[in-house]
């Protein structure tokens, strides 16, 4: 399993790592966890934006602000990673493309249906 390259033996181990507050993890493991967790958050934000009938470019800017804020919180506050271990630009850009895509797609689909 390719995730083994980053120290995960199974999907279950990866999931428990994502939810734990283990600060001994490598930066690659943290970035991988952030990649998937950020996408889940993006889908939830897209659903919320769609059901709340939010419109306009400000919604996208709000999403970007929340997404980056969440990334910072998840890595440095929740997982309590040392700020010297991983750079801010790395955590802000990890999975950014996919998460923006998922937000826009979910938001658009809900807006179309609702």
């Amino acid at each position: 399993m390719p995730l083994k390259k980053e120290g995960f033996q199974s999907v279950g181990e990866f999931l428990s790592f994502s939810l734990s507050t283990d600060d001994q993890a490598s930066s690659d493991q943290i970035k991988t966890a952030l990649f998937f967790v950020r996408q889940i958050v993006s889908v939830l934000l897209g659903l919320a934006a769609g059901f709340l009938h939010l419109q306009g470019i400000l919604t996208i800017l709000g999403f970007l602000f929340l997404s980056m804020g969440f990334s910072y919180y998840y890595v440095f506050k929740y997982k309590q990673v040392d700020e010297d271990k991983i750079e801010n630009t790395e955590i802000y850009t990890e999975g950014l493309g996919a998460s923006v895509g998922e937000f826009l797609l979910t938001w658009t689909l809900i807006h179309t249906v609702a």
């Binding site: 390719p2 995730l3 009938h53 306009g56 470019i57 797609l105």
Partner: protein
């Protein structure tokens, strides 16, 4: 205006299949080969060496020797990266052809059809994509190509991440931190 959400979902599924097949082709042509894996290993070793050397860089003492070592490693990484780009050229061309065929096939059916409603009015560059092939002045009407591109971006990122097909990350250039030592 009635929008058939089933058609929108069909575009998403089409993108998923197209990207999956493309990555499978790339794996078959490039990623499964021993020489590619060896190249990745060499790049990762060089990048680790570069990062360690950068961490131990001391500006005041032996700066010229360390700068020279770092420049050598950087040059080695760039050479290996060039070799990797060359290796992936054939698979990239195959994936591009597959994408073009898929987009044209979907486009023949969905041309002129509004598949979704955007919740924002896109700026003029994005309009060329979101409103492509559509009649009418309502810029929140969305054409198939925008949904396809978003879906392709999502599936490609995830497939590459899950199956370890991203390739090694460079310590400099797009996607990596810039080296601060050699800035003027």
């Amino acid at each position: 205006m009635d929008i058939n959400i089933g058609e929108t979902l069909f575009i998403i599924v089409g993108a998923a299949i197209s990207i999956s097949v493309g990555e499978l082709v790339s794996w078959f042509l490039v990623y499964r080969n021993a020489d590619y894996k060896d190249l990745v290993s060499r790049i990762e070793t060089a990048v680790t060496k570069y990062n360690k050397e950068k961490e131990s860089f001391v500006k005041e003492t032996n700066a010229k020797n360390q700068e020279k070592r770092l420049a050598q490693i950087e040059s080695q990484i760039k050479g290996l990266n060039y070799e990797m780009t060359f290796k992936k050229m054939i698979s990239n061309a195959a994936v591009a052809i597959l994408s073009i065929v898929t987009i044209n096939s979907i486009g023949n059916y969905y041309s002129g059809i509004v598949v979704a409603k955007l919740a924002f009015e896109p700026f003029w560059i994005l309009q060329q994509i979101t409103h492509r092939g559509l009649n009418g002045e309502d810029l929140t009407d969305c054409s198939y190509i925008f949904i396809y591109i978003l879906s392709a971006l999502i599936f490609k990122s995830n497939i590459q991440k899950i199956f370890g097909l991203e390739g090694p990350k460079m310590p400099f250039g797009p996607g990596g931190p810039q080296p601060s030592l050699f800035k003027q």
